[in-house]
Amino acid sequence: MSGNMNLTLKVWRQKNDKTRGKFVTYQATNISPDMSFLEMLDVVNEELVRKGEDPIHFDHDCREGICGMCSLHINGRPHGPKQGTTTCQLHMRSFHDGQTIVIEPWRSAAFPVIKDLAVDRSAFDRIQQAGGYINVNTGGVPDANAIPIPKKVADEAFESATCIACGACVAACKNASAMLFVSAKISQYALLPQGQTERYSRAQAMVAQMDAEGFGSCTNTGACEAECPVGIKLTNIARMNREYFTAKIFKQEEPH
């Protein structure tokens, strides 16, 4: 087909977290601009399998930009050159014939490599487990319309709630800080009336877990916001800091 491209890939290959990895060069030939980046990797993998070579391992699932499973550092940028997209929604028309593409996993001590480009992001789950919820049981809750919430507040909470937990913010940050991710959840609940009763203990518990996981601190460079595929804003971090320091000063509730 006309318009199809030939590309050189330099891909990080690493058998597991105990062995050292290295870059391996592959040729991706006859790549249609309509392919997604992951479909391009599928094509390369099919050829590898036909040659009896282990395919390049990478995480992915929905391929719709919503599950947050895909990752990849592409030419030095999390989720590649295009702003506001995940790797699975990045299309090859963002590249040109003859280009060399360097593909690496997320680089962060808190995200150890499992194999090739797949990393372990379970630290994110543990932070959510520490306090990313409202303490309600199933049943026995009030009628949904008993709690009116101004549209503006609801919309703002939604903007924070939309984080897909991909980890690009951590990968983009020179300190490997997870502040954007953590602050998104804290903000969602801090904004909503349902989240008020535990807002301070929540902030304390989640921040404590974030520190325990070994994520770095925030020095306000804003790289996270620039690379976030769903547009989580830095204002969330400011809000989280407010919540956290208010909690510290007034010791409103103890973490549980």
Binding site: D42, G52, D54, D61, H91, K115, T138, A154
Partner: protein, 643 residues
């Protein structure tokens, strides 16, 4: 033989009476029971969290790296509930009625009524968890009409309803993980069910990072593993969606019901080439404002495809708004199966659009004129962006190209009113079971069903089974655990020994073509018989000529894929058998032999008003069909008409 356990009494009282009659487990004794929950989508997360809150020990499993990534996350449009907040005449009975009718009278009345009844609690629960649903300026919840419903009962969170509902359930799950009442196993794939004396007592999983094949014991097992649409290779499902857990349970005695009922969604982005790995849904809500059309004649369509004329060259009279023309009262909002079949029809006539000719237009020009671009952007902005991203075409400037794609499977493991399969102690929830949508699912009803099953049904019904068990822990050393584990290990080794010339994807794509061609939007006897032979042949090809690389003791995506495709190759044949058996058209199952003079689906209630539940009888043995007759006491069966 098949006992649906539907309680007696008037429809509206069945569930309350049943809840009262179910045995209870004393609160102090709940911790003596361990429940295994496989899957953490809406059904699994809500079940795991609710059961743990009650005091049970729960072990939960998912194949992704986090429970939050289950494919429920991708649902866009919304969730139904009979709240009647809009004062437009909705009620539990109306939601029940619409669901039964929409399912073309192939679902159980009692289950569907219960679903409609608990739907109202779901919204309350989600709001209490902090799910940020869309709201009106007054601060109350907003609703929209969805998928042709005549009332506005759909709750939504932008185009990301599934994400927000799942994150709500995930937060409830996290709270229990933190308390130590749920133990979560990420990146674990269930590969078999352990039964002892006919009862489900555990599962075998493969750790997808280390390859360890392990047994887990429990007093009951809940399969919440989603749908099997990926048997078609291309679908709107996530890449990892599979039938493995359900299929292996089927081979251990769980009947599989109505496997041929597949929903083909009318509005998806069309295929661009052989490299296509999945299909992206464009939410059905778009049909509220978009108009579906193709050129009036084959000649015009050809010219358009060749680029000899532009879309704007086609005047109103050159365009065929075929849904509006054929179904004046429902127009573009006819149910999914009708919209899909009509798209196929015009494409088969040669009037399709786009380079491949396998697409129709969904046009917003009128909506933009009527409402303004800003309003359209506020309503559909993220969908338009997604479309633009994938196709490089701007839907504000030119019509979207859409085509039907496999989306949802109404069939699944047979369950009774308690959601128990034919294996005692084994339950199936969410898309994994067959229970509530009959032969066709209405939009925004799957999210409702997953959460209904998990939050509000299983916490009651499971107690009835457990209360009869006694308090003994499950015997970990029972020989069945090691025996089943060994079977799984042998199967893995068998797959890894395959060193042929084809890739797993080669075979999967071929299977997809066969299913789409002969067991897709339209089916007929000759085609189905042909498909059966081709699938058998393909299965032989798989086991003799496929290649699976690497070893077990590592992350091995070749192996994962191979196991799933091996199961699809068996399921595919059962789907064909089921489609062959059902010589009527109903819902998503269109048998060309059974249509009205106008070419619409024609049911045969006299002969097919039943659930087809299939029993596995061993390798290469034909499966045995069991029929559960469907009784309709509260609705009158009519031929669906959307004219």
């Amino acid at each position: 033989m098949l006992d649906s356990k539907v309680p007696a009494g008037p429809l509206a009282e069945k569930w309350s009476k049943h809840k009262f009659n179910l045995k209870l487990v004393n609160p102090a004794n709940k911790r003596k029971y361990t429940i295994i929950v496989v899957g953490t989508g809406l059904a699994g997360s809500s079940a795991a969290a609710s059961l743990a809150e009650l005091g049970y020990n729960v072990k939960a499993f998912c194949y992704q790296d986090s429970p939050r990534r289950a494919h429920s996350i991708a649902a866009q449009g919304g969730i139904n509930a009979a709240k009647n907040y809009q004062n437009d005449g909705d009620s539990v009975f109306r939601l029940f009625y619409d669901t039964i009718k929409g399912g073309d009278y192939r679902a159980r009345e009692a289950n569907v009524y219960r679903l409609a009844e608990v739907s109202v609690n779901i919204i309350d629960q989600c709001v209490a968890q902090g799910v940020p649903f869309a709201r009106e300026y007054g601060g109350l919840l907003d609703n929209r009409s969805f998928g042709g419903a005549q009332v506005s009962r759909t709750f939504y969170a932008r185009g990301q309803t599934g994400q927000q509902l799942l994150l709500g359930a995930y937060s409830a799950l996290n709270r229990q993980i933190n308390k130590g009442t749920v133990k979560m196993y990420n990146r674990h794939e269930m590969l078999d069910l352990v039964t002892i004396d006919g009862h489900a007592r555990g599962i075998i999983t493969r750790n997808m990072v280390t390859g360890a094949i392990e047994a887990h014991e429990g007093h009951a097992v809940l399969l919440c593993t989603g749908g099997y649409g990926n048997v078609f290779y291309l679908s709107t499902n996530a890449m990892g969606c599979n039938v493995t857990a359900a299929w292996r349970a089927h081979k251990r005695g769980a009947f599989f019901a109505n496997p041929c009922y597949t929903q083909i969604h009318p509005t998806c982005i069309p295929v661009t080439g052989d490299h296509q790995s999945k299909l992206t849904l464009m939410s059905e809500s778009l049909r509220n404002d978009g108009r579906v059309w193709v050129p009036k004649t084959v000649e015009l369509a050809q010219k358009l495809r060749k680029g000899e004329i532009k879309i704007s060259d086609l005047k109103e009279e050159d365009r065929d708004y075929y849904l509006e023309r054929k179904y004046p009262s429902f127009g573009n909002l006819v149910p999914r199966d009708v919209a899909s079949r009509n798209a196929k029809e015009v494409v088969d006539e040669g009037r399709g659009v786009g380079a491949s000719g396998i697409a129709v237009y969904l046009d917003f020009e009128d909506a933009i004129k009527r409402l303004g671009e800003d309003t359209v952007r506020a309503k559909y902005g993220n969908l338009f962006d997604m479309y633009y991203q994938i196709t490089d075409e701007n839907p504000y400037k030119q019509p979207m190209r859409i085509y039907p794609a496999v989306h949802y499977t109404m069939g699944g493991l047979w369950v009774d009113y308690n959601l128990m399969t034919t294996v005692p102690g084994l339950y199936a929830l969410g898309e994994c079971n067959f229970s509530d949508h009959g032969a066709n699912r209405l939009g925004a009803s799957a999210l409702m069903q997953g959460l209904a099953d998990g939050y509000f049904v299983i916490p009651y019904t499971i107690g009835d089974y457990l209360a009869g068990l006694g308090f003994d822990p499950v015997d970990r050393n029972h020989p069945e655990f090691e025996k089943t584990r060994k079977t799984v290990e042998d199967n893995v080794q068998r797959l890894l020994s395959l060193k042929g010339s084809k890739t797993v994807d080669d075979i999967h794509k071929k299977l997809g073509h066969i299913m789409w061609e002969y067991c897709g939007m339209a089916r007929n006897e000759a085609g189905l018989i042909k498909a059966k032979g081709q699938i058998q042949e393909l299965r032989r090809e798989f086991w003799s000529d496929v290649t699976v690389l690497g070893e077990n003791e590592e992350m091995n995506q070749s192996l994962e894929k191979a196991g799933r495709v091996a199961d699809f190759l068996e399921l595919g044949e059962l789907m064909v058998d089921d489609a062959l058996n059902r010589r009527e058209s109903c819902g998503g199952h269109f048998r060309e032999e059974s249509q009205t003079e106008e070419g619409e689906a024609k049911r045969d209630d006299e002969n097919f008003k039943y659930v087809a539940a299939w029993e596995y009888r061993g390798e290469s043995q034909p499966e045995v069909l069991h029929k559960e007759p469907l009784e309709f006491e509260n609705v009158k069966l009519t031929q669906r008409s959307y004219k």
